[in-house]
Symmetry: C2
Subunit: 353 residues, 2 copies
């Protein structure tokens, strides 16, 4: 069944809105994009190349603003188009549904969705037509009119997202645990570095860098997301606070600390691996390289020759000198093959023994 999308109007030329516009335009869908910020709008329209002129009445309105602005946008648009059908893309779902209910738009005409493709960057300049490829795209389909639901599924399909159905409540509980709490935890940890000396920070390693990466996220957008999902986040923060208090109490007690760390290890092990499957068992192959052009190329050429698939990799650079350590993650079988292959080719390979 082919769905005729007609004309799609997007309000909000940020990372998500612009990326959706690019993906739809690439697929030949008529799309226009606007933003109250003229610079963002102009940039988004330039990126689109030749955006469709704004329609009298659009077939679908995608509201891609920060969550607190959704109801305002809907109120304005509904006066222009009483048959309005809306899809939103914000990172929280309960609050927008409540907000929109006050605008007069029927529940059945509002499709709450959430493409899980955020990044530390923001704005139309970071937009990409392929931002959503293979990413989960939550759709709270319950109660949404069939025709609108079909259009939403088609938008998700065109963008390359993987549609996943969750109720509004299930969504908000899940993202509080897997996205909002990690964001706050990383920001709290990163804030603590303001008290460290430059000399102290010279000793920072990959662990600190990885643990604080998402602390680079846009503060204003995330403040709205966090406060908009406060009801789900609060119990998690209180639980964290209890664990932290208990840790402070038992800081001189190695076995109590070991127990906490062991529980953390068990929690970490529950995170699924790539391809949405359960966590995979990789074998890690460390290789010492010179930190100069061509080294990685040569290694990957060898991997291609040996027909092994690199599942993941990390590059660690050595502070103060020009060597690097690259660690390949592979299936156990591929790991044996490539370690052997690279070793014979003269690489400094250090498989676990």
């Amino acid at each position: 069944m082919t769905i005729e999308l007609g004309h799609i109007r997007i309000v909000g030329a940020g990372l998500i809105g612009t990326s959706i516009a690019l993906a739809l335009a690439k697929a030949g869908v008529r799309v226009s994009i606007v933003d109250s910020d003229e610079r963002a709008r102009d940039l988004a329209q330039d990126l689109l190349g030749n955006p469709s002129p704004e329609p009298q009445v659009e077939d679908l309105l995608i509201v891609a603003t920060p969550p607190a602005a959704i109801a305002d946008v809907v109120s304005k648009e509904i006066s222009r188009n009483p048959a309005l059908r809306v899809m939103d893309i914000s990172s929280i779902k309960s609050q927008p549904v409540l907000d929109v209910a006050t605008t007069g738009l029927a529940n059945a005409s509002f499709a709450p969705t959430h493409p899980m493709a955020g990044r530390e960057v923001s704005g139309p300049a970071s937009a990409r037509a392929d931002l959503f490829i293979g990413r989960p795209w939550i759709f709270s389909r319950d109660g949404v009119d069939n025709e609108l639901a079909a259009m939403v599924s088609e938008v998700i399909r065109i963008c390359g997202g993987v549609e996943i159905e969750r109720s509004v409540g299930d969504h908000d509980r899940a993202v509080a645990a897997v996205s909002h709490l990690p964001q706050l935890s990383a920001s709290l940890l990163a804030k603590s570095l303001l008290s460290a000396t430059d000399e102290d920070l010279e000793l920072a390693g990959a662990g600190l860098r990885d643990s604080t990466r998402i602390a680079e996220s846009d503060p204003d957008l995330w403040a709205e997301i966090i406060s908009g999902n406060a009801a789900e986040i609060r119990p998690l923060l209180i639980s964290l606070q209890n664990d932290l208090s208990q840790l402070i109490q038992s800081l001189d007690n190695p076995s109590a600390i070991a127990e906490l760390l062991e529980l953390g290890r068990q929690g970490r092990a529950r995170i699924p691996g790539k391809h949405g499957g359960s966590a995979r068992n990789y074998t890690y192959i460390p290789i010492v390289i010179d930190d100069k052009p061509g080294q990685l190329a040569a290694i990957f050429e060898e991997c291609a020759k040996a027909a092994v698939n690199i599942e993941d990799l990390s590059i660690e650079h050595s502070p103060g000198q020009e060597t690097g350590l690259i660690t390949l993650a592979l299936s156990p079988i591929d790991a044996v093959r490539i370690a052997d292959h690279l070793g014979r080719a003269g690489w400094k390979v250090h498989p676990s023994r």
Copy 2:
């Protein structure tokens, strides 16, 4: 000046002790390694290939046990060799110095050091002769006898470490901030995942994975490290607790949350980049690839042809389908060159615009 290291005896066949043994043996130094755990000892000795027989009296004893065991080891060894000279490698420094003072070993004969090359893995099976190459290796040289200090510097040099002098107190304060607090924060966050449902965890992304990676560390070893540095860690945890309480109070106040997130962003920006320098300004180039052998090889071949140096990279796999997103980090100049080069070669390159 060449230092004659003579015979080095290592007590503790874990990741660090075995890695030092491998590096020294590779450089032709006479080295023996023992452990109270016979399996660890046997494995370490096998890895060494042909370890030197244990000497009557060693020239340098490297204690590579968990911190709580150091004083016991020194007490035992000093009765065998009253002229004992000791180097330790534990992740905390004040507590071992205090502990060793009770053994009768002179301060001048105890060299506190800390190679900062820990990993989430442990044990002799993960040991590598190149573990320390280019890594900071702290040496609290003050008060250590000159001959011992020279031997320690030589061991660090042979292992490829970068010797950095810090007082015992400065060391412990620094690692509390850049290593111990991040470890505890990651473990607390990871522990919270035990309360999430499998369905919730399906929505986990790279942010959660990166933020909890170090929660995989060895609980028993880290419990000793944490409790042994409790005095430095406690004020940091209390400060974190205050920030967390304030966050919970202001969870409905977007501007207060934005302020916290902004401070986190500023703290994050203070972490220095690779080569021990200040944080570098990289340009990121996202490329969509098929998740199969040869794709990375081909990209890196192109980078080598264009003579650009990849500073860092990440691979993101798409849940549920077989495409991947690789993001290269390069200098701004290299980024322009390679984006152009790869684009012309037909790759799906998406530079920021």
